[in-house]
C-alpha cells in the first residue's frame, strides 16, 4: 500500500506543530505503521530534538535534494521504534534550497516503503509552507484556542481552499479545560464554528509535554501516560481511519477526583 502524506501546518508559530508531528509519528509507529516524519523547517530544525535523534543525523533533506546522498542514507532510524524514521531538515541552509517539486519527488520515493508520511511544516505562509503542503494528500491544521492562532489558521484554510488542497482537518492544541470552564478561553465548539472545518483532535496543555521535549522522548511513548498522550494516540487512530470518540478533557483537581470517586461508587 502506498503511503498517505499528511502535512502539519498552522500559520502561526509556536502552536505545537513539531510536538504534534513527533507524537503522531510515535503513535502511528507504535501501532505498527511504517512512518517517516519529515522536518520541513529548513534552517530552524527541531523535530530531531523532539524525537531525541539530534545526535544521529548524518545527511539531511537538502543533501538529498542536491544529490550528496541517497534518500535512504538520510533517513534516521529511531531505535526505540522499528517502524519510525526521521528525514531531518538542513540547519545551515534556508528555505530557498527546497522547491515544491523536490518535496513531491521525495514523498513519491518514500511512498512505496511506508504507510504514513508526516511533514512538519514551518510556520508562516511563504515558501516553506508552499513546499510543505505541495505533496500532501491531507493537511492537518494546528491551532490554539487563542485569537491570533485562530486567525492565522483561518488564513491557512483560505490558502488551501484556493489551491484546492482538499478539506483540511483541525487539531486544537494547548486547551486548558479549567480556563474554558471559567469562560476565559475559546471553547472547542467556538473554534470549530469560527473556522468551519472538521475536527480531528483536541490536545490539552500539560507540563508533561515540556518535560518530554526536554528529554527527547515524546509523551506518546507511554500510551496511557497522560491525557495529552491519549489525545495523540486518538488522533493517530483517526488518521488510520478509525472512528474514535472525542474524550472529555475534564481537569480533575483533588475535589473533582473525590467527587467522581463518590459518584462512581468507589471503583
Amino acid at each position: 500500500m502506498a503511503a498517505r502524506v499528511f502535512t502539519v501546518t498552522s500559520g502561526k508559530g509556536g502552536v505545537g506543530k513539531t510536538t504534534l508531528s513527533a507524537n503522531l509519528g510515535v503513535a502511528l509507529a507504535m501501532n505498527g505503521r511504517r512512518v517517516v516524519v519529515i522536518d520541513a523547517d529548513v534552517g530552524l530544525r527541531n523535530l530531531d530534538m523532539m524525537l531525541g535523534l539530534e545526535n544521529r543525523i548524518v545527511y539531511d533533506l537538502v543533501d538529498v535534494i542536491e544529490g550528496r546522498c541517497r534518500l535512504r542514507q538520510a533517513l534516521v532510524h529511531d531505535k526505540r521504534l522499528p517502524e519510525l524514521f526521521l528525514l531531518p531538515a538542513a540547519q545551515t541552509r534556508d528555505k530557498s534550497a527546497v522547491s515544491p517539486d523536490d518535496m513531491v519527488r521525495i514523498c513519491d520515493q518514500l511512498k512505496e516503503q511506508h504507510d504514513f508520511i508526516l511533514i512538519d511544516s514551518p510556520a508562516g505562509i511563504e515558501q516553506g509552507f508552499r513546499y510543505a503542503v505541495a505533496p500532501a494528500d491531507e493537511v492537518l491544521i494546528v491551532t490554539n484556542p487563542e485569537v491570533s492562532a485562530v486567525r492565522d489558521a483561518d488564513r491557512v484554510v483560505g490558502l488551501l481552499e484556493a489551491e484546492e488542497k482538499g478539506p483540511a482537518r483541525l487539531i486544537v492544541n494547548r486547551v486548558r479545560p479549567d480556563m474554558v470552564r471559567r469562560g476565559e478561553m475559546l471553547d472547542i465548539s467556538d473554534v470549530i464554528e469560527l473556522l468551519a472545518i472538521d475536527l480531528v483532535g483536541v490536545v490539552p496543555e500539560e507540563p508533561d509535554i515540556l518535560v518530554s521535549a526536554n528529554q527527547g522522548r515524546p509523551v506518546a511513548f507511554s500510551r496511557d501516560g497522560s491525557l495529552a498522550s491519549r489525545a495523540f494516540h486518538n488522533i493517530a487512530r483517526r488518521l488510520q481511519g478509525e472512528d474514535v470518540p472525542f474524550m472529555p478533557l475534564r481537569e480533575q483537581g483533588v475535589l473533582g477526583r473525590i467527587f467522581s470517586f463518590v459518584r462512581s461508587g468507589g471503583d
Binding site: 488564513r155 480556563m179 471559567r182 475559546l186 468551519a196
Partner: protein, 88 residues
C-alpha cells in the same frame, strides 16, 4: 470567586469576547474587505438609493455575514416611514 467578581463588574467572559472579535475579523479577512471599505460601501449605497427612495440613512447596516465558509455582503436598509417616491 472569579465568577462572583465578574457578576459584580458585569464583565463578559473573555472567551466570549474573543469569539465575537474573531467572528468579525475573520469575515473581513476572508472577504478581503476592510472595515474602512465597508464604511465607504455603506455611504455610497445610501447615496445611490437615496436618489430614488426615502430611506432611514442613520439605520442602514452593511455587514459581511458568514455561513460555514461562505461570505456574503448584507445591506439592511430601512425605508423611511410614510415615504413618498422621489423625483416624480
Amino acid at each position: 470567586m472569579r465568577i462572583l467578581e465578574r457578576l459584580k463588574k458585569g464583565r463578559k467572559p473573555s472567551g466570549r469576547v474573543a469569539k465575537e472579535r474573531l467572528r468579525l475579523v475573520l469575515a473581513h479577512d476572508r472577504a478581503h474587505i476592510s472595515p474602512g471599505l465597508l464604511d465607504t460601501l455603506k455611504d455610497e449605497i445610501i447615496s445611490v438609493i437615496s436618489r430614488h427612495i426615502d430611506i432611514d440613512a442613520s439605520s442602514v447596516q452593511v455587514t459581511i455575514s458568514q455561513s460555514a465558509r461562505e461570505s456574503r455582503l448584507v445591506a439592511d436598509i430601512p425605508l423611511s416611514p410614510g415615504r413618498k417616491r422621489r423625483g416624480g
